[in-house]
């Protein structure tokens, strides 16, 4: 058998195992319960939580984009380590609170909570729309990663379109049938697999291309002393942009609806213990950066279309001819893309069913709402697939602007939980204006003030609006008592 066939076999084997785990996770559970589909009946154990949350940081971005950043931007890539460790810290405070509130009032989405707290259906629909707009490009990137990996590692014998369709199809089927439990248990398997692959590759490339870590970094420093620093003449990123990237990620990480709603899947204690192990997951990302650094001076600059292609280039040019190795690497990279895809498609389907359809048609029965969610998995997958195949790069870049919108949810969530005076009007205006300011500095203005992250400027404006509008409006006794149920919750 030739190498690409062995590689294809290994990747297929991985797909079959992931598929089987995803499908069987939902067996013996109620097929007709929204609570089961959306939040696993609030009963996830610690082990699943670790890998569920850990798996989401290992997306196709971490596997393909991480080495690309290290290769092309040097020290700027340390941002990935910093944000992965800091991103989950706020969850220690808000997660347990959300878990208790969610259990008491039967929430399954962020819209459920904010809509209840601020008594506004309009707010729920905005959140639903912002979530979907952010989810779809995120999923599109994963699909592009999956198609690319299949195509490169089978030496063009499996087409990009077919590879992407195969991997996405499997995700769609197990998410639609097993719900969050399917996504969770397949993530356990996928997270372990990609960790192993990342470490093997990181160590292998450093050793075989440079002999040792010290050698590798010495050569990089000799060649360009500022490449491994931030904000200097030869650095690839300014100090303000680096810092504001981290701050935005720390505020926004838990605001991603698919992560936020995981507060509802487990207990307060398990949330705290999940936050505890998160820094360890960040350290696991280290070899991903080593892969990118090892390519410096080895991969010629003009060999790559985009920096994200650096790992596939290394694999096809500097790994042995062994088909089994290709297959293992392919499986690890697919695992990274798929473990994010399942969480995203699931999150998008729940948002669509609960935050949009249920609000517009309040008479929907549980059964109908659940079917809408299951069908939405297919719908969201199909839309993202079409964008991945037919969309231009410009279209995707435009949609990625929705990323900056996610962090705009933070002022609403925090003020809802900790500030009784926060008013509905303030939160809604803050959210809408915050999103618009972000979009302005992202696409329309030539540059942002001090080179800050556009999302940070948006969020500062957002906070100011929530603050001043809430202060200006006098809350009546009834609203105050209502807010107290959330703020004073113990």
């Amino acid at each position: 058998m030739i190498a690409w066939q062995i590689a294809l076999l290994a990747m297929s084997l991985y797909l079959i195992i992931a598929f089987a785990i995803g499908l069987s996770a939902g067996r013996g559970r109620s097929f007709f319960s929204i609570s089961e589909y959306a939040v696993g009946d609030r009963g996830f154990g610690l082990f699943v939580m670790w890998f569920l949350m850990g798996g989401t940081i290992f997306s196709a971005f971490a596997f393909l984009g991480g080495p690309g950043w290290a290769y092309s931007k040097g020290a700027a890539s340390l941002y990935i380590l910093a944000y992965c460790t800091l991103g989950l810290l706020p969850w220690y405070i808000i997660g347990p609170k959300m878990a208790r509130l969610g259990k008491k009032s039967n929430y399954i989405t962020m819209g459920d909570f904010l809509g209840d707290r601020f008594k506004s259906k309009f707010l729920i629909i905005i959140i639903g729309i912002v979530s979907l707009l952010a989810f779809i490009p995120y999923l599109t990137l994963q699909i592009k990663g999956m198609g690319y990996i299949f195509n490169v590692l089978t030496f063009d014998n499996i087409s990009y379109n077919f590879g992407a369709l195969l991997a996405l199809g499997i995700v769609v089927i197990y998410v639609a049938t097993s719900g969050v439990r399917g996504a969770a248990w397949s993530d356990v398997f996928q997270a372990i697999l990609m960790l192993i692959v990342a470490w093997i590759l990181g160590i292998y490339f450093v050793e075989s291309l440079h002999g040792s870590l010290g050698n590798m970094f010495s050569k990089i420093i000799e060649n360009d002393p500022d490449f491994l620093t931030i904000g200097n003449e030869g650095s690839k990123i300014s100090a303000a942009r680096y810092s504001s990237n981290i701050v935005v990620s720390m505020l926004g990480f838990v605001m991603w609806p698919h992560l936020f709603t995981k507060s509802y899947t487990t207990t307060a204690r398990r949330i705290k213990l999940t936050v505890l192990v998160y820094p360890i997951f960040a350290i696991f990302l280290l070899p991903v950066l080593f892969i990118g650094f090892s390519a410096i001076g080895v991969v010629p600059d003009d060999a790559l279309g985009r920096p994200g292609e650096v790992l596939p280039y290394l694999i096809t040019h500097h790994l042995t001819e062994s088909g089994i190795l290709y297959g293992i690497v392919g499986a690890g990279a697919l695992a990274a893309a798929m473990s994010s895809s399942d969480a995203i498609t699931h999150g998008a389907s729940v948002s669509f069913g609960r935050d949009i359809c249920k609000v517009i048609f309040p008479s929907l029965k549980e059964n109908q709402e659940l079917w809408i969610m299951r069908l939405a998995v297919i719908g969201v997958g199909a839309i993202a697939y079409c964008i991945a195949i037919y969309g231009s790069d410009g279209l995707i870049a435009l949609l990625l602007g929705a990323y900056g919108a996610i962090v705009q949810l933070a002022p609403g969530v925090y003020s809802g939980l900790f500030w009784k005076k926060a008013s509905t009007l303030g939160v809604i205006i803050g959210l809408v204006v915050g999103v618009m300011v972000t979009i302005y500095f992202q696409y329309i203005a030539a540059s942002s003030p001090y080179d800050l992250h556009p999302g940070l400027i948006g969020v500062l404006v957002n906070i100011a609006i929530v603050f001043f509008v809430s202060i200006a409006q006098q809350q009546n006794e009834e609203n105050y008592a209502h807010a107290s149920k959330f703020v004073d919750e113990k």
């Binding site: 020290a75 340390l78 380590l81 910093a82 460790t85 800091l86 810290l89 706020p90 220690y92 405070i93 347990p96 040792s212 870590l213 010290g214 050698n215 590798m216 970094f217 010495s218 990089i220 420093i221 002393p225 490449f227 491994l228 620093t229 931030i230 904000g231 200097n232 100090a239 303000a240 680096y242 810092s243 981290i246 701050v247 720390m250 207990t267 307060a268 204690r269 705290k272 213990l273 936050v275 505890l276 820094p279 360890i280 960040a282 350290i283 280290l286």
Partner: protein, 72 residues
């Protein structure tokens, strides 16, 4: 450990979180903004980030230990 009231634990946690954040962003980060010396073969700036990740992990262990609210 019951001497520390619950509210203070939360406040301590927030302060701790902001402290770790401040170590990893500018202006404090500028004291680590050097490629050399190499430590364990890694640039100084990278080791600095890893060091604070490690401290954060230790800190979280401390918080989980003293948090009497951790049992459901």
């Amino acid at each position: 450990m019951n001497i520390i009231p619950k509210l203070n634990i939360k406040l301590l946690y927030v302060i701790f979180t902001l402290f770790i954040l401040s170590m990893l962003i500018f202006p404090v980060f500028s004291i680590a903004n050097y490629a050399e010396p190499l430590i364990f073969g890694m640039p100084f700036i990278m080791v600095w980030v890893l060091f604070w990740i490690f401290i954060e992990f230790l800190g979280l262990i401390f918080f989980v230990k003293i948090d009497k609210n951790i049992e459901d």
